[in-house]
């Protein structure tokens, strides 16, 4: 029974495909999986937007949306109808073709990443040899669509936002990639399926997740920071800083094209959360051996949703960074830490003694963190805090 609950979607797929002639089965199976991905993530997107608006509202001492449906839970439906029926305005001077292609390209590139994410036991669309690399390749192509959107709008705010976005995404792509290299070094594979399988083992009832090891913990922290910057989330939301440049690269988008940008941003967040879950948090495996009976897909999606909640929490509590702070943080702190983390991963790989590698790994990680933090903060002078109240 539990076996069946774990494999319910796989069995459903086989049952549905079984009705078709044998020649059509492979192609229609793939098609069904694609339809499932395209149906599930926008639904999650609607849920996440509602959660975000409600959660942010609570953090800011207000109610959030509470007019449409009971407790406002039908708000995403209302938003969807609104964006579908709104007039689609293209600026007179805009480059119409590029302006049209940019949101489509973003959404396509973002959805492509899900093809390689293992969302449960035996639940992966294509098990590529180099699926991690595929995910990053797709992530890299979103940068160009952001630039296309900003440039084609013929609006200075848009162009500024696009330049900020591209500079930020390029700077944080390096630490994002490097923070995952440690996992690849230890697992010895670029395939996400293999990486998740390697973490699905238990000692004393506790899972072998990568985040529980010194190199994994440091890599995880760096990955979370870089992923927030990659998805342009607060506190890294300079590209769309409302108080400075209206809405950044999608200032000149309205109606459904704007909704596509919004969707692309959130689905990109799900993608990067899913990737981080697979790399560091054991993907679809359960944290404790006694909880292994819970279906694997429940674990995957709940981990992704916890990750999203964390993003919302950070957005509600952190102020936005300045451009120079953003760049200094990326190049002078996150990048050296990820490089050092490679050393820790190598040490973990080649030192056989259990205790020695734990101690050495922790010493390097904590020592580097403290040292770089001290050196980085030495130039900053913090006086006593002063507050000025509005009169």
């Amino acid at each position: 029974m539990l076996e069946k609950a774990d494999q319910v979607f796989v069995l459903l797929l086989h049952w549905l495909v079984g009705y078709l002639p044998a020649a059509w089965r492979p192609a229609s199976g793939v098609l069904l999986c694609v339809v499932a991905i395209i149906a599930v993530y926008p639904t999650l997107f609607a849920l996440a937007v509602l959660l975000e608006r409600k959660g942010l509202g609570r953090m800011q001492n207000r109610y959030g949306p509470n007019r449409v449906g009971p407790f406002g839970i039908l708000q995403p439906v209302a938003d969807g109808i609104k964006s579908l029926t709104k007039e689609d305005i293209v600026p007179f001077n805009a480059d119409a073709l590029v302006h049209f292609i940019a949101p489509l390209m973003l959404v396509v590139a973002v959805f492509m990443g899900f093809a390689v994410l293992p969302m449960g036991r035996n639940m992966v669309l294509v098990d590529l040899d180099a699926s991690l690399l595929f995910f990053f390749a797709m992530g890299a192509s979103t940068e160009l669509s952001v630039f296309m959107a900003g440039w084609s709008s013929r609006n200075k705010y848009s162009l500024l936002g696009a330049m900020r976005a591209v500079a930020q995404m390029i700077s944080y792509e390096v630490p994002l990639l490097l923070s995952t290299v440690g996992v690849v070094m230890i697992t010895g594979s670029l395939s996400l399926v293999d990486i998740v399988d390697a973490q699905n083992r238990y000692t004393w009832g506790l899972a072998h997740w990568n985040v529980f090891k010194p190199w994994g913990l440091a890599g995880f922290a760096m990955f979370v920071i870089a992923s927030m910057a990659e998805t342009n989330r607060s506190p890294f939301d300079l590209p769309e800083g409302e108080s400075e440049i209206v809405a950044g690269y999608f200032t000149e988008y309205s109606g459904f094209k704007f909704a596509l940008f919004f969707l692309g941003e959130y689905v990109g967040m799900f993608g990067i959360a899913g990737l981080g879950t697979s790399l560091f948090l054991g993907g679809w495996s359960s944290p404790l051996a006694v909880l292994s009976w819970v279906p694997s897909w429940i674990w995957f999606f709940s981990k992704v949703m916890v990750w999203i909640c964390f993003f919302i929490w950070v957005r509600g509590t952190m102020p936005r960074l300045r451009q120079d702070q953003l760049m200094n943080f990326a190049w002078k702190f996150v990048l050296p830490m990820t490089l050092l983390n490679l050393l820790v991963a190598a040490e973990w790989r080649f030192v056989a003694d259990m205790w020695l590698r734990w101690i050495a790994g922790m010493v390097i990680v904590v020592g580097a963190y403290v040292l770089m933090g001290r050196v980085g903060m030495r130039r900053e002078h913090f006086g006593p805090r002063t507050y000025r109240y509005a009169e």
Binding site: V98, A130, S141, E173, L190
Partner: protein, 167 residues
């Protein structure tokens, strides 16, 4: 020689031609990206996954962005109306390009018989590429790494110098 191959070839060639012929420089850069992507898809069609993904990551993700930045930071994206996109010495350029292409084509055609004739496609997965890089080709890899580090430091120094001069 399948239908996919011809579609991809047409896409790559159209992108490359548009990159040369279009008037607006940003449009040229974007069409060049189409050509890069087409090349990556051609690699995929040849079962060279690693090369294809790296092609997208490096060329679409980094080189195209670099080109676009260079265009935006240096001058306006429009080419002057008077001259058009063709330079005055296009005949010389064309003959040089044709000569290079002819030499390359001749080299490729001559070398074909020397390759071992295998019936099954050679499989090159990521693991094999990694092992080759770490054993047989480790010296070239290290030399390239050193060169790139030197280039990086050089670029930073050049940028810092300019800043000092401005002050």
């Amino acid at each position: 020689m399948s239908v996919v191959f011809f579609v991809l070839t047409a896409m790559t060639l159209a992108g490359a031609l548009a990159a040369v012929l279009l008037k607006n420089l940003v449009h040229c850069a974007l069409s060049l990206t189409v050509a890069f992507a087409g090349l990556a898809l051609l690699f995929l069609e040849l079962d060279a996954q690693f090369v294809a993904f790296v092609q997208i990551l490096v060329y679409v993700g980094a080189v195209a962005i670099l080109v676009v930045f260079a265009i935006l930071l240096t001058r306006s994206a429009e080419t002057p109306k008077a001259g058009g996109v063709f330079s005055r010495t296009w005949l010389a350029g064309l003959s040089v390009a044709a000569a290079v292409f002819a030499v390359l084509g001749w080299a490729v055609l001559e070398s074909t018989p020397w390759l071992p004739q295998t019936t099954e496609a050679p499989a090159a997965d990521v693991g094999q590429i990694g092992e080759a890089l770490m054993s047989r080709y480790v010296l070239p890899l290290e030399i390239v790494a050193l060169l790139l580090t030197a280039a990086l430091i050089g670029a930073v120094i050049v940028a810092m110098h300019e800043k000092d001069g401005a002050q």
